[in-house]
């Protein structure tokens, strides 16, 4: 008989905005101070709760984009209720409430040891970036390939950090609408060739909009990857 372990309720904690970085015209990385934060694994997410002065609340989930601190990268959705507040209004020192970390499936553990293929569509790169950073932090020798699809070069998050050479990490940008001048790959959707020629015995993490994740997972299956080692996370 399975005995369910019942830890305490995930508590809401007060998080204060400590630092922000601009990622693109419409996305911002927010770093929070969260007293009592228990730590988390790369790939986990948090629930964010905003409360208005009259008591009205709104909640959303955001992936953690760093393994060692509470950092969220928020893409502003034009008619959104929460994201425009987080990207444009929330100021240094302002509070929001957070609970987490949540999710134990879409996670990378530094002791896994196996090679990894990360496939990101748009802002789906956030939890995968936490994995790239966790690998670096742990000094892991696992080889990583990040295939990162955006519409244009201006939509790339963490651009400077991803440009820096890093042994064992291979970053491939896929542009679907506009590529930089002289870019060898014409703009277009992700194809099998973009996944690289590594053997299919890797752990795969795919995150992005539904259509993107569906097609990336299908490409992986067609290349012989084991469906049990393909983990997906979707939004929209």
């Amino acid at each position: 008989m399975a005995r369910a372990a019942v830890p305490g309720r995930l508590t809401w904690r007060v998080a204060r905005l400590a630092e922000t970085r601009r990622e693109t015209d419409t996305a911002r990385t927010l770093v929070f101070d969260v007293p009592g934060w228990p730590g988390h694994l790369a790939g986990q997410h948090v629930d964010v709760r905003l409360t208005a002065a009259d008591g009205y609340t709104a909640q959303r989930s955001y992936s953690l984009s760093a393994p060692d601190r509470v950092e969220l990268t928020v893409q502003r959705i034009a008619d959104g209720e929460v994201s425009p507040y987080l990207t444009d209004v929330l100021g240094i020192g302002d509070p929001v409430e957070l609970r987490g970390p949540v999710g134990g499936w879409f996670v990378w553990r530094p002791d896994a040891g196996r090679d990894v293929l990360l496939i990101a569509g748009g802002s789906g790169v956030a939890p995968l970036m936490a994995m790239v950073r966790a690998r670096r932090l742990a000094g892991s020798g696992a080889r990583f390939r990040l295939v990162y699809s955006t519409r244009t070069p201006g939509d790339v998050f963490y651009a400077d950090e991803l440009r820096r050479p890093e042994p064992g990490l291979d970053v491939a940008h896929v542009y679907t609408r506009v590529a930089p001048e002289g870019w060898p790959r014409p703009p277009g959707r992700l194809t099998a060739a973009d996944l690289g020629d590594g053997p299919p015995d890797r752990d795969c993490f795919v995150c992005g909009p539904t259509g993107f994740v569906e097609s990336a997972a299908d490409l992986l299956l067609a290349r012989g990857h084991d469906p049990r080692r393909i983990r997906t996370e979707r939004f929209g």
Binding site: M1, A2, A4, A5, V6, P7, G8, R9, L10, W12, V14, D47, R49, L50, T51, A52, A53, G55, Y56, T57, A58, Q59, R60, S61, E81, Y85, V89, L90, G91, D94, P95, V96, E97, V102, G103, G104, W105, F106, T210, V213, E214, A217, D218, L220, L221, P227, R228, I230, R231, T232, R234, F235, G236
Partner: protein, 199 residues
């Protein structure tokens, strides 16, 4: 009341629709699943119900379609915060499916093609509360939404409505499924906001 975030006003909906706590309305139909979408040809699809005494009951796709169906219109609530109102389905009530199944079990562990599992009290599958559905919004159920056949248990968070339904094990002891083992709530009532263990 929670800690106020300065300058946050929110966007209240004008409609009088009441949503479970922490949920927001969506018009589209988000897809959430933990791995690649299994694609199961209808002619290969089969549903097995196994009882606590070893009894086995099976339905093929054709046999499922021959059962009397209902067309529930229900609201659905995902633990990732979206709710979708007035969704239209077609499928077979679990009351019909389990009518001749002899069991004294209190729990069901539902399993999917692809390996996903989720658990529910058996009573939550009966009395007009649950269906196994094969059509959505007048169309065949798309693979990414669980086609050819998924479970529909609208009064619980939607991770209980297992996609790509393959089997139901009737058990005398509760056995947590995939997300329940990973820290999500054992029962998952949206109106009591039972998202995670301990909620």
């Amino acid at each position: 009341m929670g800690i106020v975030s300065p300058g946050f006003h929110g966007r209240r909906r004008e409609s009088a629709v009441q949503l479970p706590p922490g949920q927001y309305l969506t018009e589209d139909f988000p897809v959430l699943s933990a791995g690649p979408t299994p694609r199961i040809p209808e002619e290969e699809w089969e549903l097995t119900v196994a009882t606590e005494t070893g009894g086995q009951y099976r339905w093929t796709w054709r046999e499922l379609l021959d059962l009397p169906f209902e067309t529930p219109r229900v609201d659905i609530h995902c633990v990732t915060k979206w709710s979708k109102l007035g969704t239209d389905w077609q499928g077979v009530s679990l009351d019909v499916l389990l009518e001749d199944v002899e069991t004294a079990a209190d729990f069901a562990l539902v399993s999917s093609y692809g390996g996903y599992t989720t658990n529910l009290p058996l009573e939550d599958l009966l009395d007009g509360q649950a269906w196994i559905v094969y059509r959505y919004d007048g169309e065949e159920l798309a693979p990414e939404h669980g086609g050819p056949v998924r479970l529909l248990v609208p009064h619980l968070y939607f991770w209980k409505s297992a996609k790509w339904l393959r089997g139901i094990d009737l058990l005398t002891e509760n056995e947590p499924g995939f997300w329940e083992t990973a820290g999500y709530h054992d029962y998952g009532d949206p109106w009591r906001e039972q998202r995670y263990q301990g909620d």
